[in-house]
């Protein structure tokens, strides 16, 4: 290749520009988590499968994670990734008790293990669900 941008200038734009951009995004509210809610979960379900109907929804106290069951017996986990909520179906064996929490492991390298904190009675329901799923 012929002419190229001198390395110090290139490194300067990357070294200053990226942190500056991230700082501005953060200051503009870009790090805020959008809490999950029933309408959001319903929308996520509709996106996943328009025929799916919500049967059971349990949100963790800060609204970051939700466990969902549909009327046809499928189970899902919803997660608020900053402003982007996302939903994945729970395969068999993906829910386990871990102390006071539930551990959600999809077995997918693109979805790390999550821990969901729910009141004891809700946790018991999901542990029973996990037993059925397994």
């Amino acid at each position: 290749m012929g002419a190229e941008l001198p390395l110090p200038i290139l490194a300067g734009f990357i070294g200053v520009g990226i942190p500056l951009l991230l700082l501005l995004v953060h200051l503009g509210g870009g790090s805020r988590h959008a809490a999950l809610s029933e309408p959001i979960v319903r929308q996520l379900l509709a996106d996943e499968d328009p025929s799916a109907e919500l049967d059971l929804l349990h949100l963790d106290p800060d609204g970051h994670v939700a466990l969902v069951r549909t009327t046809d017996g499928r189970r899902f986990v919803a997660w608020a990734m900053e402003s982007s909520p996302t939903l994945r179906e729970l395969p068999a064996g993906s829910l386990e008790a871990e102390g006071e929490a539930l551990r959600v492991r999809l077995g997918d390298p693109g979805w790390p293990i999550h821990r969901v904190r729910l009141p004891p009675e809700q946790r018991a329901i999901w542990l029973e669900e996990a037993g059925h799923a397994a």
């Binding site: 290749m1 190229e4 200038i9 951009l21 870009g30 900053e82 994945r88 390298p109 693109g110």
Partner: protein, 301 residues
């Protein structure tokens, strides 16, 4: 004699930084563009990693193409018109590569990185693979080098221009351009469709610069105002970790291919068939998802 062709990508880096800042400001004013901090950080990390890896290992691909160039059947010109023609031919090569990157898991494991954000802004354009030099996709340049005798340096130049062109179309700030431009060129509207996870939009609009390739080969789908694009993957990631973003699909591919109890043919299909292939029918490929969506649509009407 080769003209002294500049490294356009390096010169574009300052433009990338300035335009992302402008898009952020525009988004703050109009609320038409969304940036999340960790999503943006992940995209930019992938971009910087891609730059470093391509710089460190790009010489392998370049070396192979230079060897092939010695076997060329003819010699392509190096004047402005010849380079312009090479740009068009390389854009067709890009269409083929991009389509294969969606239709074969061997290339998808790297390209999935680019589609893994649920946002669509200029930083998404920089969310690039870390596996480029290792998937042998550079061999798709071979026909241009051997059959037409286009010099690998010319291909590097036109490929760089193509890459820089594709940067600005990653935005929601521009709705639609005048019809003749929308007909010929890849635009923000066409490329939003390409990043959609809606069944209607899956595996469409593969063009780099000229959308006419999609119109020609039947893969063009227009953006419908009544169906806003939902960005990301059919199964979205739950992480901003750059290493997971870069290699999650390669790990999943390897796990599928080495699982016990399947035939050699099934292992090969896990590597080279469409993303979503499964030997037991437990997963869905894009055509299956589209077919189910079409069936639902017909039933609704």
């Amino acid at each position: 004699m080769l003209p002294d062709l500049p490294d356009v990508v390096s010169f574009a880096v300052p433009v990338f930084v300035v335009t992302m800042l402008l898009e952020l400001a525009y988004g703050r004013l109009t609320r038409k563009v969304r940036f999340d901090t960790r999503d943006t950080a992940a995209s930019l990390s992938m971009g910087v990693g891609n730059l470093v890896i391509d710089t460190l290992f790009g010489f392998i691909a370049f070396g192979v193409l230079m060897v092939l160039y010695e076997w060329r059947l003819m010699t392509w010109g190096t004047g402005a018109l010849a380079i312009a023609a090479a740009f068009v031919l390389d854009d067709l090569r890009y269409y083929v590569y991009h389509r294969l990157a969606h239709e074969s898991r061997w290339l998808w494991w790297g390209h999935v990185t680019h589609h893994s954000s649920q946002h669509y802004n200029l930083s998404t354009a920089l969310r690039q693979t870390w596996g480029g030099p290792f998937n042998l996709a550079f061999l798709l340049h071979a026909p241009l080098v051997v059959l037409l005798g286009i010099h690998p340096l010319v291909l590097a130049f036109v490929g760089g221009v193509n890459l820089v062109y594709q940067y600005w179309i990653h935005t929601e700030a521009i709705r639609r351009l005048p019809a003749p431009i929308e007909w010929v060129f890849n635009t923000p509207s066409h490329h939003r469709v390409h990043h959609g996870r809606n069944p209607r939009y899956l595996d469409t609009n593969y063009a780099g610069v000229f959308i006419v390739w999609d119109r020609l080969f039947g893969t063009f789908v227009p953006e419908e105002d009544e169906e806003p694009v939902r960005y990301g993957l059919v199964k979205n990631l739950g992480t901003y970790n750059p290493l997971r973003i870069a290699f999650h699909e390669l790990v999943a591919l390897a796990k599928d291919a080495v699982q016990p109890g399947i035939t050699l043919g099934e292992r090969l299909r896990y590597v080279f068939d469409r993303p979503g292939y499964s030997h037991d029918g437990s997963r869905q490929t894009a055509p299956m998802i589209k077919e189910a969506w079409e069936a639902r649509r017909r039933a609704d009407h």
